[in-house]
């Protein structure tokens, strides 16, 4: 509880034990360092091309330091409960990081910073392995890692691209050894 993210001594502080609704804009901000709704909408739009209206039905909340939640309705703020919607963004750090679950939920709407992996790469990524990816010539930083499945692209999780390498930041609890679909494709082609 020692964190004091700047601001005057009498400014309200982030209370990690409860959920607070994000202020709409910087002009409404009372708690220093707290992201605003406008900043969050801009971030999804700028980083991934996810349109701001995607979140029209959602309210945004902070609990803990910088962990943001998206909730499909509204409740009075602050609220002392165990969860309000879904964790979707980590702020209060230089590079904001989307959660794996947010990318699974909204990553299909992303139009930039999406890397489509081959079947072998997709399996390695899902298992939590880092891999060289020299073909990526887009931005460094957090990407949506996707693959083709049952005819359409599908986001798998969040990758961190730095120095020619795609690091899997799939949390341990979500890492899994999954089938390499290149073999399945070959089998399907043979049977036609």
């Amino acid at each position: 509880m020692s964190q004091r993210p700047g601001g005057s001594d009498d400014a309200p502080e982030n209370d990690g034990g409860r959920f607070d609704r994000l202020p709409a804009t910087a002009a409404d901000r009372r708690v220093p360092g707290r992201a605003t709704r406008a900043e969050v909408l801009d971030w999804w739009d700028e980083r991934f091309g996810v349109p701001p209206e995607t979140f029209d039905g959602h309210t945004f909340w902070e609990k803990g330091s910088g962990k943001l939640w998206a909730f499909a309705d509204d409740v009075p703020s602050p609220i002392d409960v165990e969860g309000v919607g879904m964790t979707f963004l980590r702020t209060r750090q230089e590079h904001w990081k989307p959660t794996t679950t947010a990318v699974k939920r909204w990553g299909r709407l992303a139009t930039r910073n999406v890397v489509t992996l081959s079947p072998g790469e997709a399996s390695a990524f899902a298992a939590g392995h880092d891999q060289a990816l020299p073909r990526w010539d887009g931005d460094w930083g957090y990407l949506v890692a996707a693959h083709e499945l049952a005819g359409d692209p599908e986001p798998i999780g969040v990758g961190l691209y730095v120095h020619g390498e795609l690091r899997s930041v799939v949390p341990k609890g979500y890492q899994e050894e999954l089938p390499d679909l290149s073999a399945a494709d070959a089998g399907a082609a043979r049977s036609e």
Binding site: F71, A72, I156
Partner: protein, 314 residues
């Protein structure tokens, strides 16, 4: 004593009942329509070579030929969730609409909660309540994995659940999937019979009455409460309904389950119950080759709010 002995008089085919209780259950997944689509799940299972059979009574229920679904792509994407077939019934009975206020009073670990979220199209306020923090952690994990954003996770004693912090004073619908003596899960958990005692049945029935009474009180007039258990014990099923029908303003609604079921029983062990409890559904393992289940749909009395009965007019 084998507790199944006491239920033999209730079933129409005792030998089939006992034989079904001995057979293990297949691994079953439900399609999570927040992130997935049943036909795309089928195509992905085909592409990776996962064997399955689709249930004829529900488009989104797949029985897997192998074991756990955890190492499949549809699971990794949150398109499916492991859930015993028969346990899909209570959420279907509650039948929530998008945008409503819904309470799942005993929510963890969240199979039925996340099914409710999907039926709500992930819009509205779904409160998933449980008392145990460890189980709440499982509920949160499952909800996140399945992309649920309309869920408020709460930790209260559901027998005196307070809505004060939520900014509204009644739910449209409440599910009470009550803790119970669980003989219906014997096919996946044979220990359920070994730890069974009649004392526990009576003790838990007291808890169940408190849970269902509070659920009725917390629901708006004209709203819906579903009561479900995975036990065959009338003490925990019809007797609980009978008690709440006497104490609270509500009635049992007819509900036709999509699986073969038997009506609730109106008498047991020298007691007789309100005849309306016949409208409840008992699912025995041999009827559909599933686990055992009990489910009842209640309508809360009083003056319905404007539009609450609009579907009757429509």
């Amino acid at each position: 004593m084998n507790p199944l002995d006491r239920y033999a008089p209730l079933v129409d085919d005792e030998a089939a009942f006992r034989a079904a209780c001995e057979r293990p259950l297949p691994s079953v997944v439900r399609v999570n329509t927040i992130l997935g689509d049943a036909d795309r799940v089928a195509a992905a299972f085909d592409a990776e070579g996962t064997g399955y059979e689709r249930a004829d009574w529900h488009d989104g229920v797949f029985r897997l030929s192998g074991g756990s679904p955890g190492t499949t792509w549809p699971y990794a994407h949150g398109w499916v969730h492991g859930q015993e077939e028969v346990s899909a019934l209570p959420a279907l009975a509650l039948d929530p609409d998008p945008g409503e206020r819904v309470l799942d009073a005993c929510a963890a670990p969240g199979s039925k909660t996340t099914q409710l979220a999907a039926l709500m199209d992930d819009r509205g306020t779904l409160v998933g309540n449980d008392t145990n923090l460890g189980r709440i952690s499982a509920l949160r994990h499952n909800a996140e994995r399945l992309g649920v954003t309309d869920l408020v996770v709460d930790q209260q004693n559901a027998r005196n659940y307070s809505l004060k912090h939520l900014g509204f004073d009644a739910f449209d619908r409440v599910l009470v999937d009550a803790p119970c003596s669980c003989e219906g899960t014997v096919r996946k958990n044979p220990d359920a019979l070994e730890t069974w005692t009649l004392d526990h049945v009576h003790e838990i029935a007291g808890v169940q009455k408190g849970l269902l009474r509070r659920a009725v009180q917390a629901t708006r007039p004209g709203g819906t409460v579903v009561y479900s258990t995975c036990t065959f014990a009338p003490e925990e099923n019809e007797a609980v309904l009978d008690h709440v029908l006497r104490e609270e303003d509500c009635r049992v609604e007819p509900w036709d389950p999509p699986l073969d079921a038997r009506p609730g029983v109106t008498g047991w062990d020298g007691e007789t119950y309100d005849p309306d409890v016949e409208r409840a559904s008992r699912v025995y393992p041999h009827l559909n080759d599933t686990g055992g289940f009990f489910v009842a749909k209640l309508r809360v009395g009083g003056d319905a709010a404007d539009g609450a009965d609009a579907e009757v007019a429509a």
